[in-house]
C-alpha cells in the first residue's frame, strides 16, 4: 500500500476521483454525466490536495454521489447536507466542501438549511441535481415539479406552484448562483469550475433527467432541434443572443424581458440586454431567474450572479484570531480561577 507521501505525489486525472464503489444509478440517469463532469473538472480546478476535498450529501438518488468520489465523503440524512457541511467547513476552513443534493433533499425537507447557508455565505459549493421528482422514493412530485404534474402522490395533478430555485437563492442573498444542464457537459464543467473558484456559497442548479420517473423533463432544452431556441447561454459582458442561427435576442421592456428578432432588422445587438454577473444589485439576476415564468422566453443557463462578501467560516476564524490577539491565547487555569474566588485554609 502507498504511503501518505506517495499518495500525494501522483498527478491527478479524472480516474483518481473515481472511488472503488460500483455506481448504482439507473442506466441512462443524468446523474452519470454530472459525476463524469465533476471527475473531469476536479483535476484541473482543485487547488487543494485531494485529501482536503469533502463531499457531503443528504438522501436521494443524487445524494449517493459522495460514494462515487474518491475523496472524503459523508452521505448524511435527508435535507441536512448543508448543516453537516457547515460543521465540516467551520471546524476546518482549509477543507473544500462540496454538497451534492436533490430537489427534494435541498428544497423540500432541506429548504431552511439552504436559505440560511445562502444568507450566511458559508463557503460551500452546492450542486442541486434538479430532476423535478423524488427519484429514490419512486416518483412522487417535488417542490420543483411543474403545476398540474401527475405523479404517484398527485394522481389528479399537483396543485401547487413550484419553487424557482434560482429566484429562491437570490431572494436569500446567495453570493454565487448558476444554472446548467446534465446534457451540456462543457457548460456543466465550466459551472463547476466557476463554483470551485468562488469564495463563499456557490449554488448550481443542474437540470438532470430522471429517465425512470420523469423522463424528458428537460428535453426542450436538451434535444437537438429545440435546444438552441430554448436555451439562453449567459456570458458576462455579452449581449443576450440565442437561437439556432443566433438570430434572437433579449431586450428589456421596462423590467420585463422580451424576445426580439435580430434577423428582421428592427433590432440590433446594441438593443440587447448585456449580462452583468457581478452587479451589486440582485435585480438583473432576478429578471433572468423569472424568465422561466414565460414559456415564450428561453431558459437562461450560466452564472446569474457572483458577488463578494465575507464568508461565515472566514468570519468565525477571523473573529477567533482577533479576540485571541486582543486578549491573548486563553489560559485554562486563569479561566477556571476566574473572578470572585476565595481561599479556604
Amino acid at each position: 500500500m502507498a504511503t501518505n507521501e506517495e499518495v500525494k505525489e501522483k498527478k491527478l486525472t479524472a480516474k483518481d476521483f473515481a472511488s472503488d464503489q460500483d455506481v448504482r444509478w439507473c442506466p441512462g440517469c443524468g446523474d452519470y454525466s454530472i459525476l463524469a463532469q465533476v471527475q473531469r473538472t476536479f483535476p484541473e480546478i482543485i487547488n487543494k490536495d485531494v485529501e482536503k476535498i469533502v463531499w457531503i450529501s443528504g438522501i436521494g438518488c443524487s445524494s449517493r454521489f459522495p460514494y462515487y468520489m474518491n475523496t472524503y465523503g459523508f452521505h448524511g440524512i435527508h435535507g441536512r447536507a448543508p448543516a453537516i457541511a457547515t460543521g465540516v467547513k467551520v471546524a476546518n476552513p482549509d477543507l473544500d466542501v462540496w454538497v451534492a443534493t436533490g430537489d427534494g433533499d435541498l428544497l423540500s425537507i432541506g429548504g431552511n438549511h439552504f436559505i440560511h447557508a445562502c444568507r450566511k455565505n458559508i463557503d460551500l459549493k452546492i450542486l442541486l441535481f434538479n430532476n423535478r421528482i423524488y427519484g429514490l422514493t419512486k416518483g412522487q412530485y417535488s417542490p420543483t415539479s411543474e403545476k398540474g404534474k401527475i405523479t404517484k402522490t398527485t394522481p389528479f395533478g399537483s396543485i401547487d406552484y413550484p419553487f424557482n430555485p434560482v429566484s429562491l437563492a437570490i431572494g436569500a442573498d446567495a453570493t454565487f448562483v448558476a444554472r446548467t444542464i446534465d446534457r451540456s457537459p462543457k457548460h456543466l464543467q465550466e459551472m463547476i469550475r466557476r463554483a470551485g473558484e468562488h469564495k463563499g456559497l456557490a449554488f448550481i442548479e443542474i437540470f438532470q433527467n430522471c429517465n425512470i420517473f420523469n423522463d424528458g423533463a428537460f428535453s426542450l432544452l436538451t434535444e437537438k432541434d429545440t435546444k438552441d431556441d430554448s436555451v439562453l447561454v449567459l456570458e458576462h459582458g455579452k449581449p443576450m443572443i440565442f437561437g439556432k442561427d443566433s438570430d434572437k435576442g433579449i431586450k428589456l421592456d421596462g423590467v420585463k424581458p422580451i424576445t426580439v428578432d435580430l434577423a428582421s432588422g428592427s433590432y440590433s445587438k446594441d438593443d440587447l440586454l448585456v449580462h452583468d454577473e457581478f452587479s451589486d444589485e440582485p435585480i438583473l439576476a432576478m429578471i433572468l431567474a423569472h424568465m422561466t415564468d414565460h414559456p415564450s422566453l428561453p431558459t437562461p443557463v450560466g452564472v446569474f450572479r457572483q458577488i463578494k462578501r465575507e464568508t461565515y467560516d472566514g468570519g468565525i476564524r477571523d473573529q477567533i484570531n482577533l479576540v485571541t490577539e486582543k486578549r491573548g491565547k486563553g489560559d485554562l487555569a486563569k479561566m477556571l480561577y476566574g473572578a470572585n474566588t476565595w481561599e479556604v485554609n
Partner: protein
C-alpha cells in the same frame, strides 16, 4: 451610631432566604449578589432561581413574580432549602405567591410602599395583608424600601424611574447588615458592571449603603445574625452555576483532549446560557455556531466531529426531540459528539423555565431503530463540570454520541466549587488515524471504537453515512447477517463502557432496610433526606446514578443488599422503569412533578412511611 452595640447578635447554623418581586425588580441579581458574597465569606450554599416564562410581565401581577432562594450555612449544604426561613417580598404579589411556602414561624421583610390599592388588587388581595391577620405568626418587618431608597438618592441625576429601580440594592444592603456580610464584593461588581454610567454606579452604591445603614439605625431590627463559615476542604473556591460549570467543563475537555471545541446550538431556555458562555471563549479557539434550528445544531456538530473537532450540541427537551434523527446518524457513523439536554418541564413547551427529569427515557430510547448511545447525568451544579469532561472522554474514546442530562435546577442553581488543579483533570487526548497501511473505516480497536480519520489526512479518503455499514470496510451493505452483526456490535460497544466507569457508590451502610436510589439533580435533596433519616435511626443508604446507560457494573449487586429500594424522581418513574426491566426487582417510587426540586422533607416522609417505626428506636 451608638445603637449598634445594643443590637443582639445571634449565631445561626443555617438560613434559607427567598427574595421575591416583580420580574423587573432585579431579584435574580439581588439573589446572585447575596450568593456570591455569602460564598465568599465562606458559607456553604445552594441556590434556586425561579423566574417566570414572561420576560417582564406587567408590574404587580402574580404571574410576573420572580424569586431567588438561597440556603446558606456553616454546615454542609445540599439543597436550596425546602422552605424559606426569610422572605423578602418587594410587592403584594410576591408576598401572596410565596407565603404558602414560608416556614410557619418565618420572617417576612416587606416593601410597604408597594402595598397600595392597585398592587393589592393585582395580587388579588381583598384586604391589605399587612393590616389584617394574614401574617399572624410570622415575624414581619415592614420597611418602606421604595421611599427610603428615593430619600437616599435625593439629588441623583437619575430619573424617578431609574431611582426606583435601585430599591433592590437597598434591600440587598439591608440583608447584608442583617446577616453580617461585607458590601465589598457587590460594590466591586456594581463598579464593573455599570462602568459606562457613573450615575448608575453612584446610585446603586448609595442605595446599597443606605440599606446597610438602615439596618444599623432602625429600631425594627433588634437582632443581627451571624452564620459562620462552613468547614469546607482546603482550596481555592468560587461560586458557580451548573451552566457555567458545564461550559468550563467542555472548555477543559477541549484543552485536555487538545481538540478545538465546536458547539452547534440553537437557543432554548434553560440551555441558552451554555451557548452564551462558550461564545465568549473565543480566545480558546472555541467555535460557536448559532444554528437556524436544533437539527442544524446537531448536524453541524456531526460535521465538525467528522472534521476532527470535539463537537457538542446543547438544548432542552423540545430541541432534544428534534435532534433524535440526527443522533441516529451519529450512531451509525460512529462519530464522537456530546449532546447536552438541560431538562425543563414538559411535555411540549410545558413549563419552559421550570425543572424536571422527564427526558430520561427519551435520551435512552428516543431514536428510530436500535440506536444505543451512552447516557450520563450530572447531579449538582459543580458536577456539571466533571460530567462534561467525562462525556467528552467517553465520546472520544468510544467514537460514540453521548447524551449528558442536566436540568433547569442545577443549571441555574449555584454552589461553592473547589476549583480543581488542571493537572488533576484526566488526560483525554486522542490520536487521529494517519497510517494508510491497514486502514479500514470500520475496523475496530479493543474498545470496539472505529478509527477517527479526518478529512485532510492524505491517503485515508473514505465515505461514511447513515446506511448500514459493512463490518470492517464500512461500505454500504444490505447483507442481512451483516446487519444483525452490526446491530449487536453497536450495542456491545455501549454496554462495554460499563467496564470503564466507576462503580455505583453507596453513601451509608452497604446493606440495610432501604436504599434511596436517584439520578441527576435530586442528589442534594436525597442526600439531605437520607442524612436526616439516618440521624433518626433508620437504616437507609443513598446511591446516586451519574451513568445511566450503561449502568455501573455493580448496580445490581448494590440493589440486592437492601430490603427496599426507593426511587424518587421528578417524573412518573422513568429510572424506575429502567431499573425494573434491568433487574426485575420491585421498587418504591416517589414522583412529584411540580416543576420544582423535590423537598427533602417529602422524601424523609416517604422514607418513614416505608419503614414505619422501623428506625431502631
Amino acid at each position: 451610631m451608638d445603637e449598634v452595640k445594643e443590637k443582639k447578635v445571634e449565631k445561626l447554623a443555617d438560613v434559607t432566604v427567598r427574595f421575591a418581586g416583580d420580574s423587573g425588580d432585579g431579584m435574580q441579581l439581588t439573589g446572585t449578589q447575596f450568593s456570591d458574597t455569602t460564598a465568599w465569606v465562606g458559607n456553604d450554599l445552594s441556590t434556586l432561581p425561579d423566574y417566570p416564562a414572561e420576560i417582564r410581565a406587567p408590574a404587580g401581577t402574580l404571574y410576573g413574580v420572580s424569586g431567588f432562594q438561597l440556603h446558606f450555612s456553616s454546615l454542609d449544604v445540599n439543597t436550596p432549602g425546602d422552605v424559606p426561613d426569610v422572605l423578602v417580598a418587594m410587592n403584594p404579589a410576591a408576598l401572596k405567591k410565596n407565603l404558602p411556602e414560608l416556614n410557619p414561624n418565618g420572617t417576612i421583610i416587606v416593601n410597604t410602599d408597594s402595598f397600595d390599592p392597585k398592587n393589592l388588587k393585582l395580587a388579588r388581595y381583598e384586604s391589605n395583608p399587612l393590616e389584617d391577620n394574614t401574617l399572624d405568626g410570622y415575624h414581619v418587618y415592614k420597611v418602606p424600601i421604595s421611599s427610603l431608597t428615593s430619600n437616599a438618592l435625593e439629588g441623583s441625576p437619575l430619573s424617578v424611574k431609574e431611582v426606583a429601580r435601585c430599591k433592590n440594592f437597598f434591600a440587598l444592603g439591608m440583608m447584608y447588615w442583617l446577616y453580617n456580610r461585607p458590601l465589598e464584593k457587590t460594590q466591586e461588581w456594581v463598579k464593573k458592571k455599570f462602568v459606562k454610567n457613573k450615575d448608575i454606579v453612584d446610585a446603586n452604591l448609595k442605595a446599597l449603603q443606605a440599606g446597610f445603614n438602615f439596618g444599623e439605625i432602625t429600631e425594627i431590627f433588634t437582632t443581627r445574625y451571624i452564620v459562620e463559615p462552613a468547614q469546607l476542604p482546603k482550596g481555592k473556591y468560587r461560586n458557580i452555576s451548573g451552566n457555567e460549570a458545564l461550559s468550563l467543563g467542555f472548555l477543559s475537555a477541549s484543552v485536555k483532549s487538545k481538540l478545538p471545541l465546536f458547539l452547534g446550538s440553537y437557543p432554548i431556555t434553560p440551555a441558552s446560557e451554555i451557548l452564551q458562555y462558550l461564545s465568549s471563549y473565543k480566545n480558546f479557539g472555541v467555535k460557536t455556531v448559532q444554528a437556524e434550528d436544533e437539527i442544524a445544531g446537531v448536524s453541524s456538530a456531526i460535521g465538525a466531529a467528522f472534521a476532527g473537532n470535539l463537537a457538542l450540541t446543547t438544548t432542552s427537551g423540545p430541541g432534544m426531540a428534534l435532534k433524535t434523527e440526527a443522533i441516529g446518524l451519529a450512531v451509525m457513523t460512529e462519530l464522537p459528539i456530546v449532546i447536552v439536554d438541560v431538562q425543563r418541564g414538559g411535555p411540549s413547551t410545558g413549563l419552559p423555565t421550570k425543572t424536571e427529569q422527564a427526558d430520561l427515557l427519551q435520551a435512552v430510547y428516543g431514536r428510530n431503530g436500535e440506536a444505543p448511545v451512552a447516557v450520563l447525568a450530572a447531579c449538582t451544579p459543580t458536577d456539571c463540570f466533571y460530567q462534561a469532561i467525562e462525556a467528552s472522554r467517553i465520546a472520544l474514546k468510544y467514537m460514540t454520541p453521548v447524551i449528558l442530562l442536566t436540568d433547569g435546577y442545577i443549571a441555574n442553581g449555584s454552589e461553592p466549587w473547589k476549583i480543581p488543579d488542571i493537572d488533576e483533570l484526566p488526560d483525554i487526548s486522542v490520536s487521529f488515524r494517519t497510517e494508510i497501511e491497514g486502514f479500514y473505516p470500520y475496523l475496530r480497536n479493543e474498545n470496539l471504537a472505529r478509527p477517527w480519520a479526518i478529512p485532510g489526512t492524505p491517503g485515508l479518503e473514505h465515505r461514511i453515512g447513515g446506511l448500514e455499514k459493512a463490518d470492517i470496510t464500512g461500505n454500504v451493505s444490505y447483507d442481512p447477517d451483516n446487519h444483525n452483526k452490526m446491530i449487536n456490535i453497536r450495542n456491545n460497544k455501549i454496554k462495554n463502557i460499563a467496564n470503564d466507569i466507576p462503580d455505583l457508590k453507596v453513601d451509608g451502610d452497604e446493606t440495610g432496610d432501604l436504599l434511596v436510589l436517584g439520578w441527576g439533580g435530586t442528589y442534594g435533596t436525597l442526600k439531605d433526606a437520607v442524612k436526616r433519616a439516618r440521624a433518626a435511626g433508620y437504616k437507609v443508604s443513598q446511591a446516586h446514578l451519574r451513568y445511566i446507560n450503561p449502568l455501573p457494573k455493580n448496580t445490581g449487586d448494590v440493589l440486592k443488599k437492601y430490603d427496599k429500594i426507593l426511587i424518587p424522581e421528578i417524573n412518573l418513574g422513568q429510572l424506575a422503569k429502567l431499573i425494573k426491566s434491568e433487574f426485575l426487582i420491585e421498587v418504591e417510587q416517589f414522583n412529584l412533578v411540580r416543576g420544582l426540586p423535590l423537598k427533602s422533607k417529602d422524601i424523609l416522609g416517604k422514607i418513614t412511611e416505608l419503614l414505619g417505626g422501623n428506625n431502631g428506636n
